[in-house]
């Protein structure tokens, strides 16, 4: 941990002397993306606002590049840190290029005239975030996606060592979200800057972040790598959702399962069942599914949405015990949906179930 660029020491943050989060001890490294996740109102923005100096800290200290932040002058800090916050920048008659140029503010003289060097930095940043073409457009008349890219160009040409972003991907479509994160990843790798941001998209946070800070309850709940944080159990606890809703491999969540007595049995496996599960969920029909291997791609959605999942151990052929169990369930259901027509050594048991359902006159093929 020799290269920690920004770190906090028992930092407490909050509004109007009321502590919201206590005892924050985190460190942020150069060349890494550190992401704050946590429920709404947990204090992610409060932490970021305190670090950028918009809010006064309540107690504790934090250090930037080895120096106590309190001793750093406004201008010096501006050359070290740039921001992209959720507050909209208020501009009047300003083009996108004008907005980007404001990033050079800490480097210009008293009259704010840009040197050749400043201008080349502006051009470079605008090319990087691909906003050169909209340089002459009025900043108030561009889309949210374009606006975030212009603001990012502005933050980049400020030549920061640490870049702080509050929910940079909220309100963006999927393409712009990915673009934004790709640019950040590139900045981190090529310019060796440190990025701290807050995010609500767990799937993307999981993919892009080197370090995750979990803000919840009264403090920093957990701090670690993506692998350590994004487990179904922990994410479920952090956000107060049922762990089975959350898929830890993909960072996605399913809606709540239908309640009541199961009416349908779904024979699935190998990813064939997911659409059927979601369909039944939308129609609010409780269902049972099986027989699904524990390592099957259908498994996470099944355990999130089905009233009951009959499972088989990974890589094992389906046991006769399980077939019997499933057949009992089928007997109780009014209908059986079979999603798969491919049966091999491992799932030959499901073929037996299908035949059983057919005999009972309950089978309704999904394809």
């Amino acid at each position: 941990m020799g290269n920690k660029f920004l770190y906090t020491k028992n930092l407490s943050v909050g509004y109007d002397r009321n502590i919201l989060i206590d005892g924050i001890n985190i460190s942020v490294n150069r060349g890494q993306i550190t992401t704050l996740i946590g429920p709404n109102g947990a204090g992610k923005s409060t932490i970021l606002k305190t670090i950028i100096g918009q809010l006064d800290k309540i107690s504790g200290t934090f250090f930037i590049d080895g120096k106590n932040a309190e001793g750093i002058s406004g201008n010096e800090l501006a050359k070290t840190m740039s921001v992209l916050m959720t507050e909209r920048m208020e501009t009047e008659l300003m083009t996108c290029a004008d907005v980007v140029k404001t990033g050079r503010y800490p480097y210009t003289g008293q009259l704010g005239i840009l040197s050749k060097h400043d201008k080349s930095k502006v051009t470079e940043a605008m090319e990087l975030t691909r906003v050169t073409e909209i340089g002459n457009r009025n900043f108030n008349r561009i889309s949210d996606g374009q606006r975030q890219r212009v603001m990012l160009a502005r933050a980049i040409c400020q030549e920061p060592d640490v870049l702080i972003l509050d929910e940079p991907t909220s309100f963006l479509d999927i393409r712009h979200k990915l673009e934004m994160l790709n640019i950040l990843k590139m900045l981190v790798c090529e310019k060796d800057i440190a990025v701290i941001m807050s995010m609500h998209e767990l799937d993307l946070a999981q993919r892009v972040s080197d370090r995750i800070v979990c803000v919840g309850g009264k403090g920093i709940d957990k701090y670690g790598t993506s692998e350590e944080i994004f487990t179904a159990e922990y994410i479920g606890k952090l956000y107060g959702i049922a762990p089975y809703c959350y898929n830890e491999n993909y960072g996605t969540a399913e809606l709540e399962k239908p309640r009541g007595v199961p009416q349908v049995f779904v024979i699935a496996g190998g990813g064939t069942g997911i659409n059927a599960f979601r369909n039944l969920q939308r129609q609010n029909i409780p269902f049972i599914t099986g027989i699904i291997h524990e390592n099957d791609i259908d498994f996470p959605a099944a355990s999130a949405l089905a009233a009951e999942v009959i499972t088989e151990k990974a890589f094992e052929p389906i046991s006769s015990d399980n077939i019997e169990k499933a057949a009992e369930k089928i007997a109780l259901c009014r209908e059986v949906i079979c999603c798969t027509d491919k049966f091999g050594t491992m799932n030959i048991g499901n073929k037996k179930l299908k035949e059983y359902a057919q005999k009972q006159g309950k089978l309704k093929n999904s394809h």
């Binding site: 002058s73 406004g74 010096e76 800090l77 208020e90 501009t91 009047e92 404001t102 800490p106 704010g112």
Partner: protein, 337 residues
């Protein structure tokens, strides 16, 4: 980039030319008309028309200079207040700052005149500054509690009414000789300003203006919103204090000598922004000054000459031209958002 600076140059020349023409018209027209040739003679001292010479030197020249300087000061003050409150229709008159200054100046005048003394320029400016800060203090107190900009304006207008009521009350019970003086002044007028006043005015206005211009980079940063201004290294608290002091001084000088003048502070900065197609303080501060000067010279010319020998109060004229501008601003902003 090139086309923008060309536009600025053209617009600045236009404003300067307008200012010169209006300045000349203010000198030539009035109860007696002076031709350009006569004017040159008077200025060179070779004229034998003593009446005309004394009218030009003693009355019209200081009055025109005052109208130009004070008009410029007023619109720069308006620009600063709009920046400070992030509100397009903030201005010294709307926020009750002019009325506050009017109130303290009226009291000071009554006290001085009652003691049989006349007020010096410095005393006038000081009294007006105290009044400005008083009203502004109230507006600031309210602005901390409510962030809504419409409420800010309402409270400013209310403070203005309260101050005016107190002023009227004082004027009603003041002795006769004071009233005559006060009445003209409290309506707003550039009349009765002598060359001594002009010197005092120009000293204060140019100092404040220079400081304002030097701060244009910071003003530009501040106008982007506090979050970004701070991340750019601006000391927000210090800057806010300086901004408030500058705008108060500028509007106090105006009120001290010309009484409350409405709408210049709101209308001119916006007109200038549209004309120049930018809101860069580096451009808009000098341009607002020129524009405000031209606007007040024009208004004063109208006030003096259209219904001569009766003279209109300056606010009557500025309101006729300024109020529609404010409506236009609000409509345009609504359509832009």
């Amino acid at each position: 980039m090139k086309s923008a600076s060309k536009r600025y140059a053209v617009c600045f020349s236009l404003l300067a030319a307008l200012l010169l023409i209006l300045f000349a018209l203010n000198l030539f027209f009035g109860s007696i008309r002076v031709s350009a040739a006569e004017f040159l003679q008077i200025v060179s001292g070779s004229s034998d028309n003593v009446t005309a010479a004394s009218i030009i030197n003693g009355i019209r020249l200081p009055r025109a200079l005052a109208a130009a300087l004070l008009g410029g000061a007023l619109s720069v003050s308006g620009f600063l207040l709009q920046t400070f409150f992030n509100n397009p229709i903030a201005g010294p008159f709307v926020l009750g700052i002019s009325s506050g200054a009017k109130m303290t100046v009226a009291f000071a005048m009554i006290i001085f005149l009652g003691a049989g003394k006349t007020m010096s320029s410095a005393a006038l400016i000081t009294a007006a500054f105290v009044g400005s800060m008083l009203s502004l203090g109230f507006v600031l107190l309210i602005s901390v509690r409510v962030k809504k900009s419409s409420l800010l304006i309402v409270s400013g207008v209310m403070i203005g009414y309260i101050c005016s009521a107190i002023t009227d009350f004082a004027v009603t019970f003041a002795s006769d000789s004071s009233i005559v003086n006060l009445h003209n002044w409290s309506m707003g007028s550039f009349s009765g300003i002598d060359s001594g006043d002009v010197k005092a005015v120009s000293a204060v206005v140019f100092t404040a203006l220079t400081i304002t211009f030097i701060l244009s980079k910071q003003i530009g940063a501040y106008s982007l919103g506090e979050v970004y201004a701070q991340s750019m290294g601006l000391n927000i608290r210090l800057f806010r204090t300086v901004l408030i002091l500058l705008s108060s001084i500028l509007s106090a000088v105006v009120t001290a000598f010309a009484g409350p003048v409405s709408f210049v502070g709101i209308a001119v900065p916006h007109l200038v922004k549209s004309l120049f197609g930018t809101a860069k303080p580096q451009v808009i501060i000098p341009a607002s000054f020129l524009g405000g000067a031209a606007f007040c010279l024009f208004s004063d010319l109208v006030a003096r000459t259209v219904f001569a020998p009766s003279e209109l109060s300056i606010s009557t004229v500025t309101a006729v031209f300024g109020a529609p501008t404010v409506i236009w601003i609000m409509l345009r902003r609504k359509s832009e958002r």
